[in-house]
């Protein structure tokens, strides 16, 4: 910072007081489109739903204030689906986040080796994530269909006499959904972001490492991995949030069944709001979720100081 001789500052209290100069507020100026958008589209809805969380409201009649009733109902067993759906959602995130991060990182690394036809290969890998959800849902239901589906057809061919019913079987539904989601995740947006991150690593560093006698594994561990940490961090945060928000896959493929085996938290929220029209209770559910995800993300941000390496600026 250049020391500028006493420019009149916002607060003119002399000496000790920290002086704010116009340039200290530049960040706000750059961020102003987002701040404006936040106030316009997000803040109002959020405050409105916070208010609704303390009411009973079913659209037809005006909201009635009920205090903490909605939260008590969730936490103290008035809603038998609350805890199971929360637990299920966490199990999902615990399995899916590491697997999809690892899978898409490996794919990105493979597609970054400069193989012949890389442009075509990358496009081919990306196509599944461009395919409309309706077409994919039809396809996967057909693969998993117990009697004449492709998977069980194959299993019977190789001698499995009683293959499971997959999506229609409560104990197999969850793993089946996981496989189906991983299939779409491995070559999709996460992979693309890793690929973009890999481009930022200067070739000179690899050459230097090679001259120092570093093998492929050592180069990966000591050059690629540290310099990729900001990208990994991004994908981790987004991945956790996305996994906890899982909705569409289950909604389309199983509708939460069989016997609530894939009844995720947001599905429960959706059901409460738009099938039972308990908008007050649904808002409470939304805020409980919001607080949980914020705590997780803050913990992640805090932990990130230990492992994310920024060249431009220290971590937040």
């Amino acid at each position: 910072m250049v020391a500028v001789a006493s420019t009149p500052s916002v607060r003119a209290t002399p000496a000790k007081r920290r002086r704010w100069r116009a340039r200290d507020f530049q960040g706000w100026l750059w961020a102003s489109p987002w701040i404006l958008g936040f106030v316009l589209w997000t803040l109002g809805p959020m405050l409105w739903s916070l208010y609704l969380a303390f009411t009973r409201y079913s659209i037809i009649r005006a909201p009635i204030w009920v205090g903490l009733d909605n939260f008590q109902r969730a936490f103290e067993g008035g809603d038998s689906l609350f805890w199971p759906s929360l637990g299920r959602t966490f199990t999902w995130a615990l399995v899916m986040v590491p697997l999809s991060l690892l899978g898409s990182l490996l794919t990105a690394l493979m597609l970054n080796q400069g193989l012949r036809g890389t442009a075509i290969l990358r496009t081919l890998f990306f196509i599944p994530s461009l395919t409309p959800a309706v077409a994919l849902a039809v396809l996967w239901r057909w693969i998993y269909q117990p009697d004449f589906g492709a998977l069980n057809y194959l299993l019977r061919e190789i001698g499995v006499t009683a293959p499971p019913a997959w999506l229609a079987d409560a104990s197999y539904a969850m793993p089946s959904l996981m496989v189906m989601t991983l299939w779409g995740a491995v070559g999709g947006g996460t992979m693309l972001i890793f690929l973009a991150g890999l481009q930022g690593i200067s070739q000179e560093l690899y050459e230097a490492a090679e001259i120092d006698g570093a093998g492929r594994l050592a180069r990966f561990r000591n050059v690629t991995l540290p310099l990729l940490t900001p990208t990994i961090f991004f994908n981790l945060i987004i991945g956790v949030i996305a996994a906890l928000r899982t909705f569409t896959t289950a909604f389309v493929a199983t509708g939460g069944g069989p016997n609530y085996a894939t009844w995720f938290y947001i599905l429960h929220l959706y059901q409460t709001a738009f099938q039972n029209f308990e908008l007050g209770y649904a808002s409470a559910l939304a805020w409980i979720f919001f607080v949980i995800v914020i705590c997780l993300t803050l913990a992640n941000l805090r932990l990130s100081r230990r492992w994310v390496y920024y060249e431009g600026e220290e971590a937040i």
């Binding site: 589209w41 809805p45 739903s49 012949r116 990358r122 196509i127």
Partner: protein, 309 residues
Amino acid sequence: MTVVVSSTEKNPVVPTARSLGQGLPFFQRRTVREGIWIGALTALVTFGSFLLLFPVYFMIVTSLKTQGASFLLPMKWLPGIQYVPQWENYGEALRFMKWQTAYTNTMVVAVLSMAGDVVSAVLVAYGFARFRAPGKNLLFGLVLSTLMVPQIVRLVPEYLGFSRLGMSNTFWPLILPAWFGSAYNIFLLRQFFTTIPIEMDQSAQIDGAGPMRVLWDVLLPQIRPALAVVLIGSFTYNWNDFFRPLIYINSPSLRTAALSLSAFQAVYGGTPFHLLMAASLVNIIPLVVLFFTLQRYFIQGIVVTGVKG
């Protein structure tokens, strides 16, 4: 994957006759190991793309069948050999979804939203990565927190807001929000800005470059891959978005392609899968073209390591 290499790599210095492999056992020669590595990778990648593309093949196969034959067992996988390909399905599907109107609308919405997404996210992310602001971390936390609000929560109030402004049944609710920056893109670009050493900004500033100049000449050229991610992501999202058009658009003349695609369900007394698949395939062609064009930015070595004088 890595096992192949790590075990034998002892001390490869600058290529000499020895490190290139002459005089070493066959499998320890550098050129040979390189060949095995590339061969294994190619096999793996090819296998992977077959697995991933199977659904697309299924879509193609189904799109060429006749009404009702889509799921007949045993499955027929070879159009032209096992059955006569019905190419006219494509014409019928496109006519049914009134493709000129649908794709003109989709193009307008997707292009304008994409432009908004990129411009706003670049400016805001630049602010978060490089400028001071009191309470900046708190503000950034707020940005991240909007990622966590379930869409369902915002839906009703947002709809009421746009209707009150008289914007329902127009493209405004689909385009306008993009111009205020989405948290996802802001976070992404901020991460990429922070990987660029701050010394590069500083040396440009010493040469008299203002903030806009630094952004345009120094930073943006280096985050081209990330910009490509934002472009592809935003365009794809808006191209395929079904939910918001469903809520805001009523007039048939304003329908986007995603809406028209959903119109295939429950006609002809049941979903005509062959037409749905044909229309879905046509729908992804522009996305594939866009991706293929932009993927050339994902090439290592475009990073500029100095500042232009």
